[in-house]
């Protein structure tokens, strides 16, 4: 496993443990993601993938081990947590847009409130990123008036407006109708080609093959295997990985 400490690492996870009551959700996870690296995390449901990436911006609190994000250790220090959240964008399975704000407001609120950007600058940035996710014409609409694929692209734009150094994607296409998955993945591919550091929990193996530098396979709260996609899809070592791949790629 790749767990060597390096100063340029975007995320460095050492011996991460997480419990829900008596359930051991994550067992001694070790993962290091370099700046600019794209990592795809996959595995059966309940394997701890989401829990792991939610630990990276402290939506879940870890119970053991160390997490260092962009050189800052994630601990009980509120300043550290806020500092990390400012630099780490997150996209959720259910979009989680603010339904009472327009698309533009969704994108402007954090830069204005957290980064104290003036309104005009925040609006220009927001419109720029809405252009990038190819829905500039929806700026004045409300989230509930958009399709699922459009909402997810707004969610990506909202995260990008904070100009994060690292993006976390938690099953971004799992709640989408099949014909909308492509429009979201296209945006993510573009983002990857521009050098964004990305950690994606996803079952889109086509995306993993095309974009990932490394694929991490998790099961039962452990990292079972990690390898570059070419190797991962053709010659995985573990039986559990082979079984999982035959299930997702089976059809």
């Amino acid at each position: 496993m790749n767990s060597t400490q390096s100063p340029g690492a975007a995320v460095h996870i050492e011996d991460l443990d997480k419990y829900y009551g008596s359930f051991h959700a994550l067992r001694k996870i070790n993962l290091c993601v370099q700046r600019g690296e794209k990592v795809v995390v996959c595995g059966p449901s309940g394997s701890g993938k989401s829990t792991m990436i939610r630990c990276i911006n402290r939506l879940e609190q870890h119970d053991g081990g160390r997490i260092t994000v962009l050189g800052t250790e994630l601990n009980d220090d509120v300043g550290n947590i806020d500092g990390i959240r400012r630099e780490v964008g997150m996209v959720f399975q259910h979009f989680n847009l603010f339904p009472h704000m327009s698309v533009l407001e969704n994108c402007m609120i954090a830069p204005m409130m957290v980064r104290k950007r003036p309104r005009a600058e925040a609006e220009a940035t927001a419109r720029g990123y809405l252009e990038k996710v190819r829905i500039p014409e929806q700026a004045m609409k409300f989230p509930g008036q958009l399709s699922g694929g459009q909402q997810q692209r707004v969610a990506i734009a909202r995260a990008l407006c904070m100009q994060p150094q690292l993006m976390l994607f938690d099953e971004p296409t799992s709640a989408l109708d099949p014909e909308m998955i492509a429009e979201v993945l296209d945006v993510m591919v573009t983002l990857a080609s521009e050098g964004m550091t990305m950690i994606c929990v996803t079952h889109e193996m086509g995306f993993a093959r095309r974009v990932a530098d490394r694929v991490v396979f998790m099961d039962g709260g452990e990292i079972v295997e990690e390898a570059p996609p070419a190797e991962f899809f053709t010659s995985c070592r573990s039986e559990r990985t082979r079984q999982f791949l035959s299930q997702v790629l089976g059809h």
Binding site: M90, N96, E105, M113, V114, K116, G144
Partner: protein, 387 residues
């Protein structure tokens, strides 16, 4: 003919005609029976009594009242008293309910326990008992001679005495309006221009608005001052009783406290439900953007919770407005008590009850209309919401 009866549209029309016909027949029969009975007992019906003077006094009125005033003026006094009690009661109940409701959703175990105990106790004791309880507490306060005093206010068994400025009535009303504006204006400015100005500028505008409104109030009070009297009229002991200041009678205080505490326990549950209805996802998204817990609360959690609460809250407000009719239990001259006294003194039962029902319908339908408008204005747009 048979085939016509099998036609769905014909059937529906026929049912409607039958329904409306029997209903109007029933109403007509009621009116005719009532008229015959009234005529037999020699009671003249009609609304002429509204212009006769009442001949009795009310113990509390925001409007000037004497026993020579006609009935219609007394009804107005009753409505104003009910609205005054309702407004104070609803505002206090909302404050209590918000605090207790937030305590119940808090992560602090002690706060949750206190909140739950509060709701369990006060929601399960009938309102009328609570009214009597607070009335008993207040009427057992010390006599005017031994009054509790704080900041020129006196608390006695005869009521709460507040200092009031020695100014003309019109100036006082104008000043109150200006002071309300001082609070409302910054809030309104903050709402309408949340994203149109940077926070620093916005705060400046809000402060300027508040300062201007307060200055206006001060100017109005200064010019409206009654000559040769001190600025404030303090209540003071004269003989065995207190003179001067504004007296809040024990009946009013007891009702306001009871409505606040009883209504607060219901509103607490509505507040709790509203906050529970906010999706965890929206709050996580806000946190993941680096917004502080306070901003997550004010920008995301509260606005979404309010939308979930408002329809139920409107219902509760209408309920509590009707609860002001408990006034008759302790002798506060609210609308209901005025109507009851009118029936005793004039015998115009049907007319007085008609006026009572119309009055309450008017008050509560207006309340509901306001809430419906607000609801519609802030409703979430679109139907593609998940999570």
């Amino acid at each position: 003919m048979i085939s016509l009866l099998r036609n769905q549209r014909v059937r529906n029309t026929l049912l409607q005609v039958l329904y409306v016909g029997s209903l109007s027949g029933l109403v007509l029969a009621c009116v005719m029976i009532a008229r015959r009975n009234l005529a037999e007992q020699g009671i003249t019906s009609g609304f002429d009594f509204l212009f006769k003077s009442t001949g009795w006094d009310v113990n509390f009125s925001l409007l000037p009242a004497t026993a020579n005033d006609p009935y219609w003026w007394y009804f107005l006094i009753g409505i104003v008293n009910t609205l005054f009690l309702g407004t104070v009661g609803l505002m206090l109940a909302t404050i209590v309910g918000t605090i207790v409701g937030l305590a119940r959703t808090s992560s602090n175990e002690l706060a949750r326990l206190l909140g739950r105990t509060y709701v369990d106790i006060f929601r399960n004791i009938p309102l009328i008992l609570q009214v009597f309880f607070w009335y008993a507490v207040i009427t057992h306060l010390p006599t005017p001679r031994a009054a509790h005093e704080a900041f020129g206010m006196l608390l006695t068994s005869r009521g709460l005495y507040l200092p009031i400025p020695n100014v003309g009535r019109a100036a006082l009303v104008a000043a109150v309006v200006a002071i309300i504006a001082a609070v409302a204006l910054p809030a309104w400015l903050g709402r309408t221009s949340r994203l149109s100005q940077p926070i620093g500028e916005r705060l400046g505008i809000q402060l300027t608005a508040a300062a201007t409104a307060l200055a206006t109030a001060a100017v109005i009070l200064a010019f409206g001052r009654l000559p040769d009297l001190p600025l404030l009229d303090f209540p003071a002991l004269q003989g065995l009783n207190l003179k001067g200041g504004l007296r809040i009678p024990p009946e009013f205080s007891a009702l306001a406290i009871a409505i606040a505490i009883y209504g607060g326990s219901y509103i607490a549950e509505i507040v709790r439900g509203g906050f529970k209805a906010v999706g965890k996802g929206q709050m996580e998204a806000a946190l993941s953007l680096g917004l502080s817990p306070w901003r997550v609360f004010t920008l995301v959690r509260l606005p979404l919770a309010l939308r979930a609460m408002l329809p139920i809250l409107a219902n509760q407000y209408v309920w509590l407005m009707k609860a002001t009719t408990m006034g008759i239990a302790v002798g506060f001259t609210d609308f209901f008590m005025i109507v009851a006294l009118t029936i005793n003194h004039s015998g115009q039962t049907l007319e007085a009850i008609g006026i009572l029902m119309t009055g309450f319908l008017g008050i509560n339908l207006s309340l509901a209309a306001v809430f419906n408008r607000v609801n519609k204005a802030i409703a979430l747009k679109g139907n593609q919401l998940r999570g």
